[in-house]
């Protein structure tokens, strides 16, 4: 009964790793047994976001080269004992892991976990096939800007030709810019991509802070992005959660105005 989800994007730096970390921690908080696999070999940083960098002994590359079983390479989270990370190598490159080998590892891990989340490198070059092959469905992360949406469209085309189901997460939304018309709104994004959206994450400084501390915002009670990620977790668990309207600067100024009188 395990579910394997790949987190991917067309354009780089839109928040795949952030989404993987938050979804992973969120699912663990909800009592699921979760494994996160970093396939961004050479550029790994999922371990950092989870505060696990110093615990890594073996990596996915060691598992592929049969030096150790995947169980030995898994790093257990300090706080959530049912959350594990299968890190990748900092020194190898993406040719080190062949898609078929990855598929074998993922299939073996299925027996042990409720959710396996795979953090994918950006784009459709090296590493995409490896990351995607074992997944039941895909989360495509994008940002509300034209270039990111166009690249997301290309990735969606590729995933559809691999017969993967796709859900969308739109990250780094700035409500005031959407309101002013300087940032794409959800309707214009859906107009092009027309796939189910399971997350609308606001731009939130706390995400950067959380990366430095190794504690994803999904745990933070006072973070707007954290709250949006908790909703993503619920939707992945199959719950029907409505999208909450964002607070815009306009809203706050109006409040101040009221208090001022």
């Amino acid at each position: 009964m395990s579910e394997v989800i790949v987190i991917t994007s067309g354009k780089g730096g839109v928040g795949k790793t952030t989404t993987t970390a938050n979804l992973g921690v969120g699912l663990a908080i909800r009592g699921k047994k979760v494994a996160l696999i970093d396939t961004d070999t050479g550029l790994r940083n999922l371990d950092l976001l989870l505060g696990l960098e110093r615990r890594i002994v073996y990596t996915l590359v060691d598992v592929v080269q049969k030096r150790v079983g995947y169980g030995q390479a898994l790093v257990r989270h300090k706080k959530y004992t049912d959350l594990f990370l299968l890190p990748t190598s900092q020194v190898a490159d993406k040719t080190a892991i062949d898609p078929q080998e990855m598929l074998t590892i993922v299939q073996a891990m299925r027996n042990e976990f409720d959710y396996i989340l795979i953090d994918c490198p950006a784009g459709i070059e090296q590493g995409f096939q490896t990351a995607v092959i074992g997944a039941d469905w895909a989360i495509v992360v994008t940002m509300p800007e034209i270039a990111a949406v166009r690249d997301a469209d290309k990735i969606i085309g590729k995933l559809q030709s691999e017969n993967k189901n796709i859900k969308l997460v739109v990250n780094r939304i700035r409500p005031q810019m959407v309101k002013d018309g300087t940032m794409l709104d959800m309707t214009s994004i859906d107009d092009i991509l027309s796939v189910d959206c399971i997350g609308q994450i606001p731009d939130d400084e706390k995400v950067v802070d959380s990366a430095n501390r190794g504690i994803p915002v999904v745990e933070w009670k006072n973070s707007a992005a954290g709250s949006a990620y908790r909703d993503v977790v619920s939707r992945v668990l199959g719950e029907d959660v409505p999208f909450k309207p964002f607070e815009t600067e306009g809203f706050f100024t109006r409040l101040k105005h009221v208090f001022g009188h």
Partner: protein
């Protein structure tokens, strides 16, 4: 053998349905059903069959559409031969010397091997999904897209192109020189339109179309006009 109740009249793009208007609709429908079910080549899968507006009532049109759809034939209500008034002409660009010349040359080279038989015009490729950025669809015949054509996608047809959705990509009809080819879309807002060796770019401030439109070459220019579906 009795006279056929329903006849099909061939036109450049798809086929037109004609029948004696005095005959009861149920008889017409029965005849179409029989033809569809006989599995004859009368209606090929993926063909587009159109009828002039005003002949059938809305519910009759819906009934036929459903019937055709069950047999993978597309049915559409469309005025076919009456002249239309151009709605918005768009800027025509003469092909750029370097890149577009190369483009044209490649096409003509290909055209040498593709001597068009009459049947080629009737051949239609049906794409039953949205064509996304980076994807390219090619056919020597016509292409019907049931879905959107997204920015960064390319549709290249020897014949005409029909997009039953929003067309935002690059579309090239009559790519092997057929200047009678045309492009229809529910919402025609492509980055560029090419028909035969003509290239047109919608003006930057083009208003978004409210209904289906058709692009074709008239007097050597690409013209866009509204059409009924």
């Amino acid at each position: 053998m009795s006279e056929d109740i329903v006849k099909l009249k061939g036109s450049t793009f798809g086929i037109q349905l004609v029948f004696d208007r005095k005959v009861d609709f149920s008889v017409v429908k029965d005849d179409i059903r029989k033809k569809l079910e006989s599995g004859s080549k009368f209606f090929k899968r993926g063909t587009v069959i159109s009828i002039e507006p005003g002949i059938l009532t809305q519910s009759e049109e819906d009934e036929l559409r459903k019937l055709f759809h069950q047999h993978a034939v597309l049915f559409r209500v469309e005025k076919i031969e009456s002249p239309r008034i151009p709605k918005r002409a768009i800027m025509n660009k003469s092909p750029q010397p370097n890149s577009d010349d190369a483009y044209k040359r490649a096409r003509t080279d290909n055209a040498g091997q593709l001597i068009k038989k009459p049947s080629e015009e009737q051949k239609m490729m049906v794409i039953n999904r949205t064509v996304r950025g980076g994807q390219e669809i090619n056919s020597t015949g016509s292409i019907l897209v049931i879905g959107n054509v997204n920015p960064g996608a390319q549709i290249i047809a020897g014949g005409s192109i029909d997009v039953r959705g929003v067309c935002r990509g690059l579309v090239h009809a009559g790519a092997y020189g057929d200047s009678t080819a045309f492009i229809i879309a529910d919402k025609l807002m492509p980055t560029q339109i090419r028909i035969a060796d003509r290239i047109a770019q919608p003006p930057e401030d083009a208003e978004s179309p409210t209904g289906a439109e058709k692009a074709s070459i008239q007097n050597g220019r690409i013209i866009i006009e509204t059409v009924e579906r």
